[in-house]
Each structure stands twice: as C-alpha cells, then as structure tokens.
C-alpha cells in the first residue's frame, strides 16, 4: 500500500458549526505533505481528529489498512501516529530524558511489582530506554541537555525536544503543528534541513501544518489547502502557488472577478 494514512470524507461538527467538512486526505509513505489555510480553516481540528482527540462526526480514518477512527488517543499514539503541538506542550518539570521516556511508555512493559523489586529485566528495559532517549536527543542536537528540565530550555530547543519526544514513539506518521512558529529565517532553514534528513533517514511520513510559505514550498511534496473546513485545493507546491481559489482564500477576491 502506498498510503500510510487515509482519511475518507471526514467531517467534524461542533454543535451547528462544521469545522471540517467532508475532507479526503492521504499521507503517502515516506513523504512530506502540508496542510495550509487561513486561520480558523480547521487545520488543527483535522489534526486532532487524526490523533483521536476528537471523534469525526462522519467519515473514517485508516492507518496501515486498519480503521482507527474509534481508537482512543493513547492507542493511536502507540501504534505510530505522533504529533507536536502548536503551543509547545512539554512536561516542563521533567527532564529532557524523562520527556522522551514518557513517550516510550507504551513500548515499555514493566509493571508495579517489577518496578518495586527492580528486577533485572526491568533494569535492562530502563537502561535501554535511557540509551534510546540519549540517542534521540543527540539526533535532534540536544545531547547535552539530557538532565535539564524541559522548561529551562530555550524556545527553539523546546521545539526540537517536542519533535524528539514525538520520535520516541517510533512513529510511522509524524504530525507537526506549526513547527516553525516563532522561529527566525535561519532557524526555519535549520528546521527544513532537519525534516528532509528525517524523511531520508527514517521510515517516516510527515504532515505539516505551517504558515511559513517558504518552509511549506521547500519541503512538501504535496500541499493541501483548507478553507472554512473544506478542502479547496490539493497539488504540488507549484500548482498551489498559482491556484486561483487559494489566492482568493488568502487574499480575498480581486475586483475583476467579482
């Protein structure tokens, strides 16, 4: 199968408001796709549906050929759909390492008794988790902050730690919600390189919500545009750039076309 994730005619209604209206969306294997749209277009809502936080009022979501529409969030996370948050949501009073180890929760097996008795198996498991955490921290360039509390890290490092935490879930699909918000152009460029490296080195697909068009256009293989809950365009960055409806959604209609 070429698509890791397939959302079929997904709708989300909050009362009378249709936040997402019958959107079809696919994430091809080992690709980078973006979701853009003006504020309030329903992008984050769509993310929340994919990660199980909201249940769609209609439609289904398939992941690796399996229907995950009704799975609870922690199940969805543990089978391989990880995310970051628009406004960083790290565990501030836990160390960088602990943040990552929380995300390994579903991969670790030790229970109450084995933890209390600290059985050899439990110790091996903990050691393995620590090693993997260190590896990931090195990978995202936070290797020296292992034992620093997340809240003490700089903004950019916190963003990176969030990505590392999501990677600790060993996901097949990584959903990044405005990852470059608040970054300057240099930092954004570093991020672009990072995303490219990630897809090149790991078996992972990335879905981005992003406002920075430079980032969107330089990393995405496909861009989808939402406006008021509806998908108004989909295509390569080049196609999207010249799409009339997209320009209208962002800038409003020009006088002639009215």
């Amino acid at each position: 199968m070429s698509n890791v994730l397939e959302a079929k005619s997904v709708s989300v209604a909050f009362g009378g408001l249709l936040a997402v209206n019958s959107v079809d969306f696919t994430i091809p294997r080992r690709s980078v796709v973006s979701l853009i749209g003006p504020n309030g277009a329903g992008k984050t809502t769509f993310f929340n549906v994919l990660t199980g936080l909201y249940k769609p009022s209609a439609g289904t979501i398939d992941y690796e050929g399996r229907d995950i529409t009704d799975l609870p969030p922690h199940k969805i996370a543990s089978i391989g759909i990880a995310r970051t948050f628009q406004n960083i949501r790290l565990f501030g009073l836990m160390t960088a390492e602990e943040n990552l180890m929380v995300a390994m929760h579903s991969r670790l097996k030790s229970g109450i008794t084995s933890t209390i008795l600290r059985t050899p198996k439990q110790r091996r498991e903990e050691q393995g988790a620590e090693d993997r955490a260190q590896e990931l921290l090195d990978y995202v360039g936070l290797g020296k902050w292992t034992y620093e509390f997340a809240r003490n890290l700089s903004y950019g490092d916190q963003r990176r730690l969030e990505v590392a935490r999501a990677l600790a879930l060993e996901p097949k699909v990584l959903l990044l919600d405005e990852p470059t918000a608040g970054m300057n152009p240099q930092e954004s460029q570093v991020f672009i390189d990072f995303v490219k490296r990630l897809v090149a080195e790991r078996d992972i697909s990335i879905m981005l919500i992003e406002h920075d068009m430079k980032v969107v256009m330089s990393v995405s293989e496909r861009v989808t545009v939402l406006d008021q809950g509806e998908k108004i365009a989909e295509g390569t960055p080049e196609q999207i750039k010249s799409n009339k409806r997209v320009i209208e959604a962002y800038l409003g209609k020009s006088k002639e076309s009215k």
Binding site: T51, L53, P72, P73, H74, K75, A77, S78, A82, R83, F85, R89, L90, F91, G92, L93, M94, T95, E97, E98, M101, V102, A103, H105, S106, L108, S110, G111, I112, T115, I116, R118, Q122, E125, E126, D131, Q134, E135, L137, D138, G143, K144, W145, T146, Y147, E148, F149, R151, N152, S154, R165, A166, A168, L169
Partner: protein
C-alpha cells in the same frame, strides 16, 4: 556518537543511602522507647519529659499517619489527583483488621497462623497476612471507586471523592444492619483485635516499643515503594499526567489505567495504615473515620511538600504530633508556668487553618519540597547568562 553527560544527583537512579539513615534513625527511636525508657537508672526528669511531650502512643500514632500520608502522596503528589475521601481506605483497612483478626464473626472458627488460642471463635488470620489482605482489598476498592470517578477533571474529581469518603464510613457507621447482615457492629465498633505475632512473642495493645518498630518497618516499605515507583515507568507517567494530561495521552499514556494504578497503590497504603491503626488502638471504631481525617492527611501532604516522601513524612509527624499530644502538652506547660487556664487543645483547628494560610502565602511548595516544585514556585526563569551555560542558581 553519544554525548556523555553525568547524571546530577536529583535524577540519579539508585539512592540507597536513605535506607541506612532511615534504619539508624528508626533503630535509635526504637531503642529509646523499648530499652531506655523502662530503664530504672534513667533520671525521672527525662522520663517525665518524654512521657509528657512524646509518649510512645503518640509516636506510634504519628507513624500510622505517616503511612497513610505516604499513600495519599502517591495520588495527590505524584499523579496530581485531588482526593478528598482518602479516609474511606483507612476505614476499609481498619475493618479488614476487624473482620479477620477478632472474634467479630463469632459463629465462625477460622484460624490461620493467628496469635490466639485455637478454640477462640471468629476469624483469626496472622497479622502480616491481614496487612496484605487489607492492602489488596483497599486497592480493589480504589479501582472500583476510581473507575467511574477518574473520568472527571480536577474539582469534580475532588467533589466525588469527597462523596465516597463520606459514604463508606457511613456504611460502616450504620453497618449493624447492612441488608440484614452485621458488617461492623455499628457505633459499638469491633473491640479487641488480635495481638501481632512476631515469632518470639505476641504484641498486645501496650507493647508500644515493639509496635513502634513494626510501624517504622511499614513506613520504610511505603517509602521504598514510593521512591521505586517514582523512578520507574509508572512514576514518569504519573508525573506526565500531573504536568499535562492531554499531552500525556498524546504520547501514548493510557490516562484511565495510569490514574487507576495511582489510586490502587495509594489505597494499598491506606489499607496498611488502616490495619496498623486497628492494632494500635486495639479496635475499630466507626466514628473515628470522619471527613476531618481526609483533610488532615491532605494537610500533611501539602505542609510537608507534595511529591517528596521526606517532606510528607515530616508534615505527617508535625501535624499528628500537634493534634495528638503536642498542643495539649504545650498547653499544660504554659498554664503551669504562667498560672493561666487556657484550653490549648481546643485551638487545634484554628492553628491548622492558620498554618495552612501562612504556608500558602509564604511557602507554597511545603517544608521539604520536591526539587522540581521548588523551581516553579521560586526561581522564575533562568536569565540569559545562566541558560547559555546551563547552570542554575
């Protein structure tokens, strides 16, 4: 290539030193009460002072409170779930002792390594087993109570636990006719629980010294469990839930199961405390399990320092001492000295209220805070120079 970073002390995984320190402190305490006090060569002045300020019964009672507070700390301090009905577990643990270690079920005759004569009626199971039974029965009730209530968030959870904390003691209070069965003797209580067998002898209600040793042992077990769990997979998940529930669930932490685990472990400690308390007062009395106890235990956790076992132990000791003996002893001392007639003991709750208000104003993280919390409440943010070197003040 992996970067090598040395672990700072506060996150070091193994921490065995406390066991030695704790054993020494416990041993000294035990030696004082078991051997020094009954010693005839002891000057009468010291004997009087100890009995006045720190009688053995008060120390033992404090230790029971420590056990309970440590259990509540797992629920409130670790997982961040406000539980206002913890006394329910104390009651259930107490009645486990009442049921399985007394002549309450006089129509039965079940003995299992008990400490009384084989012809005595009732169920007489060995104290150490009853401890475990009490712990597990409470853990089971923790799960039963938790399953419907833990879906609620913060304030609502607190309210519902408050309800359960009232309901369960009331059931025992009126338990003389529980659908036709007597489960608790109602207000009369279950009097005379079996002595504690320790191999060489049986500990009755007045063997304070030896019981002190047993209660110290139980607190060691609770500290041990708390610290080990805190550092493991489950402890991390609890902390993550305390920090940000939604993010935790998005990182694959099953919220319900993890919260239930904290309830179960906390309730287990409640069971231990309940059984210990029953042997301490040599009976189970329904009117003792009231709402004030839940608040009292919560105050211990908050005063000492939520999430830090040492703080909680300190808080439990201080509050239970003031409540049980300290204030009245101080009152007697004061009245004698100044020829007044003030009933200090009646000001207990005024004092508690005042202490809590002052704590919230000036030292919100408690007397001995968890290192993490100390940071939030006092150090605001690292300044630029500090964050670039990664050093804290």
């Amino acid at each position: 290539m992996s970067t090598k970073v040395t672990k700072p002390n506060n996150v070091a995984r193994s921490n065995r030193k406390w066991i030695i320190g704790y054993s020494i402190a416990g041993g000294i305490l035990f030696a004082i009460y078991q051997f020094l006090l009954p010693w005839e060569g002891l000057p009468l002045g010291i004997y009087d002072a100890v009995y006045r300020w720190m009688p053995p019964a008060a120390v033992n009672e404090s230790l029971v409170y420590v056990i309970m507070a440590l259990g509540l700390n797992i629920v409130v301090g670790y997982a961040g779930l406000l539980d206002l009905g913890y006394v329910a577990f104390w009651a259930i643990g107490g009645y486990c002792a009442g049921w399985f270690m007394s002549e309450f079920f006089y129509f039965l005759n079940i003995h299992f390594f008990g400490s009384v004569a084989a012809q005595a009626p009732g169920i007489h199971i060995n104290f150490w087993m009853v401890l475990i039974i009490g712990g597990f029965v409470c853990a089971l009730f923790g799960v039963l109570i938790g399953a419907p209530t833990l879906r609620l968030k913060s304030d609502y959870l607190a309210l519902v636990t408050l309800g359960f904390g009232e309901i369960i003691p009331q059931v025992f209070f009126n338990g003389e006719n529980f659908f036709g069965y007597n489960i608790s003797n109602g207000t009369k209580g279950i009097v005379q629980v079996d002595p504690i067998p320790i191999g060489v002898k049986n500990l009755g209600p007045f063997d304070f010294g030896w019981k002190l040793l047993i209660f110290i042992l139980l607190t060691v077990i609770m500290v041990f469990i708390s610290l080990r769990l805190r550092r493991g997979r489950l402890g991390r998940a609890w902390l993550a839930i305390r920090e940000d529930e939604l993010a935790a669930s998005m990182m694959g932490v099953p919220l319900m199961r993890t919260k239930l685990a904290s309830y179960a472990v906390g309730a287990f400690a409640g069971g231990l405390g309940g059984v210990a308390f029953a042997t301490h007062v040599n009976g189970v009395y329904a009117e003792r399990f009231n709402f004030a106890i839940s608040i009292f235990l919560l105050a211990m956790v908050v005063l000492g320092g939520m999430g830090n076992v040492w703080g909680v132990i300190l808080g439990a000791f201080i509050l239970s001492w003031v409540n049980g003996n300290g204030l009245s002893a101080f009152g007697a001392f004061y009245n004698e000295r100044f020829g007044t007639d003030v009933d200090f003991a009646s000001f207990t709750f005024l004092l508690f209220g005042l202490v809590l208000i002052l704590m919230m104003l000036f030292k919100r993280e408690g007397l001995l805070p968890e290192s993490r919390l100390k940071m939030v409440l006092h150090v605001e943010e690292l300044d630029e120079a500090e964050s670039s070197t990664g050093k804290k003040k």
